[in-house]
């Protein structure tokens, strides 16, 4: 049947029409071979836009459709749906991207229009040779993997488990809880962080639908949406989880002291330890980097003392394989290393603390039992809180970390409440955007906190004026009064930036997703698909996607759970039929493709002496197509004929 192509050029408001002369493009399209009808419209993706296409399919008996609009990642599914509705196979649709590839990146209107014509011609020429393809339907495994057991991962896991589906929750540390477990209070309500978090942790530990892997990491992921296979490394904790009841006798006797990671190294833990008393699971773990029994075969006290004989120095790392249909990543953040800005004295001047260190100082289960004290054990009489350390700074992170203003207010309140000290905030802008946040700011203004508008330039211990001796002096330009100020304080707290974890790139690689320029994972669409990724079935939530506070992180945790559940409840998933196919008549059986295939998707049929592609495993990368010496391999929807025709169109 001769191709009858309809071309529909979208204005996208002024996004495209502002640069591209859409009418001229549509007129040009109507002159191209096999084009039966060509039209332009303000918003092709809108309801009237879609109806317009639908009517033309019927009226002009179109058998190919080209829409010149935005990126196919945005609206290809929309227009494929229109084709289907019009009775066309959805793969007889071709998208021409004249927005991201043209109007948004071209300054001159004339050249933008010229480029748009070339793009449209390419699409039309390709469409001429499009072939109908059948979507493959695959059953979805109803289990979900959640990676990262902070508040986001906990929320996601509970939502899914409560709906009756199985969840595997993997956490790197010996306990779940994440950063929130380190906090004392939460802004702006001043809820005790432990009081609202630990019950959820217990729920996770006891839930019949949650299989918890702590002290574990994901090594490898294979498969595709609905059918992932995941390899989990369960590190040896040298304690039998079935026997240990968390009594803690072992830690009392263990002679090795190690700075506690959970307490930001302000306190000590033992080589056999539980990060914090309320940790879940209620299990102890031996840190093999420090245990002398494991390092040098000396000691063994914990084995002797354990009343339940739970210590097992012979325990080995285990690799466990699970199958899941959906994956949620909630791997969190780390904080900016303030040593990179030596002018603030962190690591050099005793009483300069990071935000997380202060959380531990303030926390009732922290190293000082919740007393806010200086390194010499005395209470500070004045405290300076320095905003935007490493955030909103082109040298480090251009973005705003979104939580610092608010926790700085929280700290101010807690400091005043516990010590009565004077508090100085050195801020650039106060960003109190959330529900109840501005009100909290007003409350702190009334509590008598000093707000100094100016980014601190330096913290020094060099006293110049009376009253500065023995203090930390914060120098800054107070832009509200236009003067350089020196404010002496006893304690400095740095509001250091939240940043992507050092291993974010490795995690992204394992799960085939991407990181942005800021290092965080990229969502599929910043507004309309905030927890999806470009890899179907893999979702992201919480601070691994970008800086956010607890309410936003929890909301994303729940959102990702809902996305995963919506996927699971579909039961079957449609797989794009962009796979390779090997023509058995042409295949010489050289096996070149088998060795090159990055997904091990090609098998060899010994009987027929030919290579065969496994559709379920093939990702359609085209490596075999390029490599096949006899031209037997073809990539569906990207055949040589289609691509050469497209090039011809672009150059025509």
């Amino acid at each position: 049947m001769e191709p009858r192509i309809g071309v529909f050029v979208c204005h996208c408001g002024t996004n495209i029409a502002g640069k591209v002369n859409v009418e001229e493009v549509a007129n040009f399209a109507s002159t191209l071979p096999y084009v039966t009808v060509a039209k332009e419209y303000k918003f092709m993706c809108s309801d009237p836009g879609q109806s317009l296409i639908l009517e033309d399919i019927k009226q002009h008996k179109l058998n190919r459709v080209v829409v010149a609009a935005c990126s196919p990642t945005m609206h290809e599914p929309t227009f494929r749906g229109v084709c289907q509705e019009g009775g066309l196979n959805q793969y007889l649709f071709q998208m021409a991207n004249i927005r991201e590839h043209c109007s948004w990146v071209t300054e001159d209107e004339e050249s933008a229009t010229k480029k748009a014509k070339s793009i449209v011609a390419g699409a039309v020429y390709k469409a001429t040779y499009l072939e109908p393809l059948e979507v493959k339907k695959v059953k979805i495994n109803p289990n979900t993997l959640v990676v990262g057991g902070g508040i986001t991962g906990i929320q996601a896991a509970l939502e899914i488990a409560d709906s009756g589906h199985k969840v595997y929750l993997v956490e790197k540390e010996p306990s779940i809880g994440g950063h929130m477990a380190q906090f004392d209070k939460t802004f702006p309500t001043l809820d005790c962080a432990a009081c609202i978090l630990t019950p959820k942790m217990v729920q996770v530990g006891q839930h019949k639908n949650i299989k918890l892997f702590t002290y574990s990491e994901v090594l490898e992921v294979s498969g595709y949406v609905g059918n992932f296979k995941v390899k989990i490394l369960k590190k040896a904790r040298y304690v039998d989880p079935d026997k240990c009841n968390g009594c803690g006798e072992c830690a009392l006797k263990c002679p090795i002291k190690v700075p506690s990671e959970f307490d930001e190294e302000l306190g000590m833990r033992r080589a056999i330890y539980k990060p914090f008393a309320q940790g879940v699971p209620n299990l102890f773990t031996i840190d093999k980097e420090h245990c002398t029994k494991i390092l040098k075969d000396k000691c063994g006290l914990c084995e002797k003392i354990c009343p339940r004989e739970a210590i097992d120095y012979e325990q080995k790392d285990e690799i466990i394989e699970v199958s899941v249909g959906a994956i949620i990543l909630s791997t969190g953040f780390q904080i900016f290393d303030a040593r990179q800005m030596p002018q603030y004295g962190y690591g050099r001047l005793d009483n300069v603390f990071t935000s997380l260190e202060f959380e531990r100082l303030c926390s009732a289960n922290g190293p000082t039992g919740g007393k806010i004290v200086l390194k010499d054990g005395t209470e500070p009489k004045s405290v300076g809180i320095l905003h935007c350390i490493g955030s909103r700074d082109d040298r480090f992170h251009p973005y705003c970390s979104r939580v610092c203003c608010m926790y700085a207010l929280k700290y101010s309140h807690l400091i005043k409440e516990k010590t009565g000290a004077e508090v100085y905030q050195f801020y650039v802008d106060m960003r109190c955007f959330g529900k109840g946040y501005e009100e909290f700011y007003n409350r702190l203004l009334e509590e008598g906190v000093h707000f100094v508008r100016g980014k601190a330039a330096e913290v020094t211990d060099f006293a110049v004026y009376k009253g500065e001796e023995g203090k930390l002096i914060v120098r800054c330009e107070d832009t509200a009064i236009g003067a350089i100020r020196r404010i002496p304080v006893d304690m400095v707290i740095l509001a250091n930036a939240l940043e992507a974890r050092d291993d974010a790139k490795d995690i992204a690689r394992i799960f085939s997703i991407n990181t942005g320029a800021d290092g965080f994972f990229i969502e599929k669409h910043p507004k309309l698909a905030p927890v999806s990724t470009t890899t179907d079935g893999v979702f992201i939530a919480g601070c691994c996607q970008g800086c956010k506070d607890i309410p936003d992180a929890v909301a994303q945790g729940a959102a990702s759970a809902s996305e995963a559940l919506s996927l699971i409840d579909r039961g079957v998933v449609e797989i794009e039929p962009y796979t390779s196919v090997i023509d058995a008549d042409l295949c010489s059986g050289c096996k070149t493709c088998i060795e090159l295939c990055p997904y091990s998707a090609i098998e060899f049929d010994e009987e027929k002496n030919v290579s065969v592609v496994n559709d379920a495993l093939c990702k359609g990368c085209g490596t075999c197509v390029a490599a096949c010496p006899s031209g037997a391999a073809t990539a569906r929807h990207f055949t040589d004929k289609q691509i050469f025709s497209e090039i011809e169109g672009v150059l025509a």
Partner: protein, 288 residues
């Protein structure tokens, strides 16, 4: 190693001892300093803030002259270093400015293409020669001598210099290599106020007071500088500053090359260590 040497005006007259000691130390370290023929004043930073184009052209003339040789250009004065480096990078980044400056240079039959690499003398010693080589030349370790390593405000700024702009350490490490002890000196990159002495003496003295106090409080026996202007600010005005603020102490100020020379046992006369206005103290006299 051969370098084009740009001494700058200060080293010709007021800081002759810096020049003498730098040449003596360089010779010993195998650093051949070949003075740039017919060099002119860099205009210093003051001119830069007054009339950019002329100031850039002044510097560019030196750069154009230096470009004839395939050598890095070494500068002992922080003000010259900043002016020349700033000019070079502006010319690199701004084609319009480059054209304007080259038009000006044309009058003198010169052109600057942008190829000269400018280094401070401290950078050459620490990075090109290296602390190990310096250590190997030390004949008399300055054991126990407490030194305030003063970098001043210009050597590490603007960014992309050879050391951390907020907390430089190259001079501290050099002091250690000589066997001496760098004292805690939190004001090590604060400005000495030298360019303010003529216009706002009170403010300049206040800035110098902070530097001297900081050195004294940390028990420094000598302050070393990497810039003739810093040296002048702390040495020549120390008496006046002390009088204004009632100081009971005097701290000798040496060019860092003089301290190196003492450790290398170069005759102190050749180094000009006694030409400073603040007399040497006991701790230093022991090495003379």
């Amino acid at each position: 190693m051969k370098y084009t040497y740009y001494p700058g005006c200060s080293l010709e007259v007021s800081s002759k001892s810096y020049s003498d000691s730098a040449l003596a130390v360089s010779e010993l370290l195998g650093v051949e300093l070949i003075e740039l023929e017919d060099w002119n004043c860099c205009g210093a930073t003051v001119y830069l803030s007054y009339e950019e184009l002329i100031s850039f052209s002044l510097c560019a003339r030196n750069l154009a002259l230096a470009e004839k040789y395939d050598r890095d250009m070494v500068v002992p004065c922080s003000a010259c270093y900043t002016s020349l480096k700033k000019t070079a990078s502006y010319i690199q980044e701004n084609a319009e400015l480059r054209n304007k400056i080259n038009q000006a240079l044309q009058a003198a039959g010169l052109e600057y293409k942008g190829k000269v690499n400018i280094k401070h003398l401290l950078e050459v010693y620490v990075n090109d020669i290296g602390l190990d080589a310096i250590k190997s030349k030390v004949k008399r370790e300055l054991k126990g001598l407490k030194v305030a390593p003063y970098y001043g405000c210009q050597i590490v700024r603007p960014l992309h210099g050879f050391d951390d702009p907020e907390n430089p350490t190259s001079l501290d490490r050099l002091v250690e290599a000589l066997g001496a002890t760098p004292v805690y000196f939190p004001n090590k990159t604060s400005c000495c106020g030298s360019s303010l002495v003529a216009t706002n003496e009170e403010l300049a003295f206040r800035m110098q007071k902070d530097l001297l106090l900081c050195a004294a409080r940390n028990d420094a026996e000598v302050i070393i500088t990497v810039c003739p202007l810093c040296h002048m600010a702390l040495d020549a005005y120390q008496k006046g500053v002390g009088k204004m603020y009632g100081f009971k102490f005097k701290i000798p100020v040496l060019h860092f090359t003089q301290l190196m020379g003492l450790a290398f046992e170069i005759p102190s006369k050749k180094l000009g260590v006694k030409t400073g206005l603040v007399p040497l103290n006991k701790a230093l006299s022991a090495y003379i």
